[in-house]
Symmetry: C2
Subunit: 226 residues, 2 copies
């Protein structure tokens, strides 16, 4: 019986969700190609966190793509003239980066084709999330359809699968899952507006969702706060 | 009657097709936001051509996104270790850049959201083309479906339309259309492997398709050859 090496591209932001994602992909037996983005985000220190997470998990490769999305702006995360809100808001918040997940998945799709990966893992979540349109299951499903038509592999009957295993989990469930997989959450950074050393602000959407997740899971929160 | 300004993002490579595309968007009454990509392509001089085309057409803005796709490789256009073929080939050729149109359309989608554009124009063509999967009508249609679910506008009932008006035209028809719209093809560069000054090689896929187009249209070819 011939065995093909199982390979996956993992979108690794350096936050809680993507660290859990990487542990899951390893558990599933995939050789992991981690991909991060230096896209002009104000919370650039998440890239240091991503590098640490990648190293701790012995990934096959870790690639950081540089992309000046800040020249487009339109989000509190890429335009320093727009403040990061300190309260949860109704509707789609200003931290939404236009088309970000589509851009990230597209570039991951290119890398997956080149390294001949069967899967792309993305840590979107549609339970404890900020209301971004590109985190919803129907969006992921539409991306999959498009990807099947976009790629050489898709045309040749070897489509690349988009895996979003955290989609239906609460933040507490993600924390419990990752803890069971021995994820070291102390090196991850979730905050949208951290201090230069990575210390979290505790008041942005991402901090609130993370803190609540640890509390609900009954697990000590290793986040370093300002 | 209130009138909303018609705005469009145009994917402008600096080649024959995209110059025609920009002229079409202008004819359709759109204020044009041109977008080019510095993605590690070996035919980087197309960016100078794009800048000239944008200037000649008085676009509202011209943005060049830097993106190191060459770090992914996998194509003769982004990996100098893979030669550009000098003959047309069967199947998907090595000049195919994995997921390139998906990446370009995704970033254009982000900009379209920020500037509140109703349309994105892309110069894909499924008649005289190189067999890339992401040039086919079914691909564009799937991208549209995905974009409707990915964006704030899509969620709020103002989806952004992907326009591919060259899709069903032969290269000769594109040349005739553009000539009627007074496109100056002398500043455009189509070649995949040009000399540093932009002089075309005459033997790559892109050169062959272009030359044949002018011949079939019965129009003098202003391309500068090596």
């Amino acid at each position: 019986m011939s065995q093909t090496e199982k390979k996956a591209v993992i979108l690794l932001s350096g936050g809680l969700d993507s660290a859990t994602l990487l542990a899951l992909a390893h558990r599933d037996g995939y050789t992991c190609y981690a991909m991060s983005f230096d896209y002009g985000q104000r919370h650039r220190c998440e890239l240091d966190a991503a590098a640490k997470v990648a190293k701790l998990n012995s990934v096959k490769a870790h690639k950081t793509i540089r992309l000046n999305l800040d020249s487009i702006g339109g989000s509190a995360l890429t335009d320093t003239n727009i403040d990061v809100p300190v309260e949860l808001s109704e509707g789609i918040p200003v931290t939404y980066v236009p088309a970000r997940n589509t851009v990230f998945l597209s570039i991951a799709l290119g890398w997956a084709e080149v390294v001949d990966a069967q899967r792309i893992y993305i840590g979107v979540n549609a339970v404890d999330y900020s209301g971004y349109p590109d985190c919803r299951p129907e969006y992921i499903s539409a991306f999959q359809q498009m990807a099947n038509l976009a790629t050489k592999g898709g045309v040749e009957g070897k489509p690349i699968t988009i895996e979003a295993p955290l989609q239906q989990l609460s933040k507490a469930e993600i924390v419990l899952l990752g803890t069971g997989l021995e994820v070291d959450y102390s090196v991850t950074v979730s905050c949208y507006n951290p201090a230069p050393g990575g210390e979290a602000c505790r008041v942005c959407d991402a901090c609130r969702l993370r803190e609540q997740g640890f509390t609900n899971a009954g697990i000590a929160d290793p986040t370093r706060y300002q």
